[in-house]
C-alpha cells in the first residue's frame, strides 16, 4: 500500500481535547510518515458542508477524522454523497452504519475525578489547603451536552464516594475567556469549594491559574495539566484523543483497514484515565487511593452504572 493520507477537521483543534487529537496525529505523522491535513472549520455553520466537500472531492484521504457535534449534519450529508470516503467521527456515535466512531467515556473519567475530589474534600483540614466548606466545584465552558456529560460523571462520582460533599457547578458561556474562568473559579473558591474541576478549554486555563492564585486545588481535563500550576493541580482527567487517532492510523498503516463500527475508548482501554499529579500523589491518604481503585474496578466490572447526560 502506498502512503496513507489522513485529514482531520474540527473547530476545536485549539482546545484541550482537540490539542490531544492533534498531538496524536502529529505523532502518527512522525512515526509513520503519513500525509496529514488539518482543516479548521471555524464556527460558521454555513461553511461546514463546503469544507467537507472540498476534502471528499480531493479523493486523496484514506481517513477523515471529524470532531465536533455541530458538524454532524454536514458530515452525514457528505458521507451519503461520497459513500467511498471513510469518515471517523470522534467523540460520539451516530446512526449512520457506514461510519467509523471513536467514542469516549468521559463520564467514567469524570466519575473517578469526582470521587477523588469528593473524598479529599471530605478530609477537611486533615488535607493541606482544604477547608471545611464540604464543597467541590466545576467550571464548564458552554452549557452544552458534552460538557454536561462531564459534569454528570463528576457529580455522580462525588456523590458515590463522599455523599456529604456538595458540587457547585458554573458555566462560562465561552471557551475563549480565561479571565472569566479565573473569576468563576475564584467565586467558587470563595463559596467554600476547595477543589474545582474545569472542562472549559482555554477558559479552564484561567481556572487552573486561579487555583494557584488562591492556593487551592484544581483538576485539569483532556490533557495533562499538572504543569500549569504545580502544587495546586490535584489531577488531570485525561481524554486520550491522541491514543484514539494514533491507534486507528496505526491499524491503517499496518494494513488493517479501519472499517465501519464503534471503537470505544474508556477506562478499560485507557482512552480516559485520571492521572493524579506526581507532586500530589504521595500526599494522598491511603484510604483514598484504595477506594479509588475499588471504584475504578467497579466501573470496569460494570457494577457502577453512570448515567449519561442527554
Amino acid at each position: 500500500q502506498d502512503k496513507v493520507s489522513v485529514a482531520a477537521i474540527s473547530g476545536y483543534f485549539a482546545q484541550g481535547f482537540g490539542v490531544s487529537i492533534v498531538n496524536g496525529l502529529n505523532k502518527a505523522k512522525t512515526d509513520f510518515g503519513i500525509d496529514l491535513k488539518l482543516v479548521d472549520t471555524g464556527n460558521r455553520a454555513l461553511d461546514y458542508e463546503e469544507q467537507f466537500e472540498n476534502l471528499a472531492k480531493a479523493k486523496q484521504y484514506d481517513l477523515i477524522f471529524v470532531m465536533g457535534w455541530e458538524l454532524v449534519d454536514s458530515l452525514q450529508k457528505v458521507s451519503k454523497a461520497y459513500p467511498d470516503q471513510r469518515f471517523v467521527f470522534i467523540d460520539g456515535v451516530l446512526d449512520d452504519p457506514n461510519m467509523i466512531y471513536a467514542n469516549f467515556a468521559e463520564e467514567q473519567g469524570s466519575f473517578v475525578a469526582g470521587a477523588l475530589a469528593g473524598m479529599i474534600e471530605a478530609k477537611g483540614s486533615e488535607f493541606p489547603k482544604i477547608g471545611d466548606g464540604m464543597a467541590i466545584g466545576f467550571v464548564g465552558g458552554r452549557d452544552i451536552p458534552v460538557i454536561r456529560n462531564f459534569l454528570g460523571g463528576y457529580e455522580q462520582g462525588a456523590k458515590y464516594a463522599a455523599p456529604d460533599v456538595k458540587v457547585n457547578s458554573v458555566f462560562a458561556g465561552t471557551f475563549d475567556d480565561p479571565a472569566k474562568g479565573s473569576e468563576l473559579a475564584q467565586a467558587l473558591y470563595g463559596q467554600g469549594a476547595d477543589i474545582v474541576y474545569n472542562v472549559a478549554g482555554p477558559t479552564g486555563e484561567g481556572v487552573m491559574q486561579a487555583s494557584a492564585a488562591v492556593d487551592k486545588y484544581s483538576i485539569g481535563v483532556d490533557i495533562d495539566m499538572c504543569g500549569t500550576a504545580p502544587g495546586n493541580v490535584l489531577a488531570s482527567m485525561l481524554k486520550r484523543g491522541d491514543i484514539a487517532v494514533y491507534t486507528l492510523i496505526k491499524d491503517e498503516v499496518e494494513g488493517r483497514k479501519v472499517t465501519a463500527g464503534t471503537h470505544t475508548f474508556d477506562l478499560a482501554s485507557g482512552g480516559v484515565e485520571v492521572k493524579v499529579c506526581d507532586d500530589i500523589a504521595p500526599t494522598i491518604p491511603a484510604d483514598v487511593t484504595t477506594k479509588l481503585d475499588e471504584i475504578k474496578k467497579a466501573i470496569l466490572d460494570g457494577k457502577i452504572e453512570i448515567a449519561k447526560a442527554k
Binding site: 479548521d40 479571565a179 467565586a187 467558587l188 491559574q209 500549569t228
Partner: protein
C-alpha cells in the same frame, strides 16, 4: 441572609475590582479618542493585539515588563494605522475600527500558527506573568479588607490611579484641553492654530497606549496566557460605557464599576442554579438598562424645569406668568 452573605462580601468587591480593571483601562484609553471627537470602535482589536504581543514579548525577553512594553507597542501600531486612516485619510471610523478588529483577530491567529505551530492558546512556554503586589502593612491595618487594596497585579493599580490623573489631564493640561476642544469644536481649534490632525493623532496614540496596557494586563496580569479572541467583547463594552459617559473619566469609572460589579455578581449567581445562559446576560442587561435609564432621566423633568423657570421669572420680572402652574 446566609445566601446574601455568600453573595455580597469582600471577595465580591475584590472580584469587582478585578473584572473592572481591564475594561476601565481600555475605556480610559477610549476616553482620549472620544474626547477628541473620534468614535473608536477598534478598541477590541487594539486590546487583543496588546494581549498577544505582550505574551510574545514576555516569552522572548523573559521579562514581564518588557512583555508589557511589547504589547503596548503593538497596540500603538494599531492605533497609528487607525489614526492615519481616520485622521489623515478621513476614512469612516466605524469601518476602520471594525476592520482593525478583524485584522487583529486574523493576525494573532496567523502569527500564533506561524510561530507556535498551533492555533488556540499559548500557555506556559516560558511566559512570565506580572507579579502581584502585596502592600506592606496593609493586612495589619485593614484585616480581612486587605484584599481590596493589596494583592493585585500592578496594572490594576495603574487603571484606578489613571482616573484622577485623567481628570487632572483634561482640566489642567494643555494637551487635555486641546483634546477636548478638538472634539467639541474643531473649527475653534483650527482657527487658533491648534493642529486638529496632530491632536487627533496624539489622542489616538494615547488611546492605543492604554488599550495596549489593558491587553497586556489581560494576558500577563489577570491571567498568564494568550488565547484566541481573549478580549472577549471587553473593547465593545468599553465603547458602550464611553458613549454614555461621554469620555469623562469619573463617569467612565462609574460605568466600568457598574459593569464589573454586574459581571462579578452574576458569576456568583450561577452557583444558585440559575441557567448560565440567562445569568450571563446580566452584565449586558444591566448596561442596557443603565443606558436607557440614563437617557430617560435626561429627559426634561417637570419639577426641575418648573423650578428653573420660576427662578428665572423671579429674577427677571416681577409678575410671574402662568408657567409655574402650566408645565407642558
Amino acid at each position: 441572609m446566609e445566601i446574601l452573605d455568600k453573595l455580597v462580601n469582600v471577595a465580591l468587591i475584590a472580584a469587582t475590582l478585578r473584572t473592572t480593571a481591564p475594561i476601565l483601562l481600555v475605556a480610559l484609553g477610549g476616553s482620549f479618542t472620544t474626547k477628541a471627537g473620534i468614535f473608536n470602535i477598534g478598541l477590541e482589536g487594539q486590546m487583543l493585539a496588546g494581549a498577544f504581543f505582550a505574551v510574545l514579548g514576555s516569552i522572548w525577553t523573559g521579562s514581564a515588563l518588557l512583555g508589557v512594553a511589547c504589547g503596548v507597542v503593538a497596540a500603538l501600531a494599531f492605533a497609528l494605522v487607525f489614526a492615519v486612516l481616520v485622521v489623515s485619510f478621513r476614512a469612516n471610523e466605524v469601518v476602520v475600527g471594525l476592520a482593525l478588529n478583524i485584522l487583529a483577530g486574523g493576525m494573532t491567529i496567523s502569527l500564533m500558527k506561524a510561530i507556535f505551530g498551533t492555533r488556540g492558546s499559548i500557555v506556559g512556554q516560558g511566559i512570565v506573568g506580572l507579579p502581584k503586589i502585596q502592600i506592606p502593612g496593609a493586612r495589619d491595618l485593614l484585616g480581612s479588607w486587605v484584599s481590596l487594596i493589596s494583592g493585585f497585579t500592578p496594572i490594576v493599580y495603574v487603571a484606578f490611579i489613571a482616573v484622577p490623573l485623567l481628570v487632572l489631564f483634561y482640566n489642567r493640561t494643555r494637551l487635555g484641553l486641546y483634546i477636548r476642544v478638538v472634539g467639541e469644536k474643531p473649527e475653534a481649534a483650527e482657527a487658533l492654530g491648534i493642529s486638529i490632525t496632530r491632536v487627533r493623532y496624539i489622542a489616538s496614540l494615547l488611546c492605543g497606549l492604554l488599550a495596549g496596557l489593558a491587553g497586556a494586563h489581560l494576558s500577563l496580569g489577570y491571567i498568564t496566557m494568550f488565547t484566541e479572541n481573549m478580549s472577549s467583547g471587553r473593547g465593545f463594552m468599553a465603547v458602550a460605557i464611553l458613549i454614555f459617559s461621554n469620555g469623562d473619566p469619573l463617569k467612565v469609572l462609574a460605568g466600568c464599576l457598574l459593569f464589573g460589579f454586574a459581571d462579578a455578581f452574576s458569576l456568583r449567581l450561577q452557583t444558585f442554579g440559575f441557567p448560565s445562559y440567562l445569568v450571563l446576560t446580566v452584565p449586558y442587561v444591566v448596561a442596557l438598562t443603565a443606558l436607557f435609564a440614563l437617557s430617560y432621566r435626561a429627559r426634561p423633568r417637570i419639577i426641575m424645569e418648573t423650578l428653573a423657570s420660576m427662578q428665572r421669572l423671579l429674577s427677571v420680572d416681577k409678575n410671574p406668568g402662568p408657567d409655574g402652574k402650566h408645565p407642558s
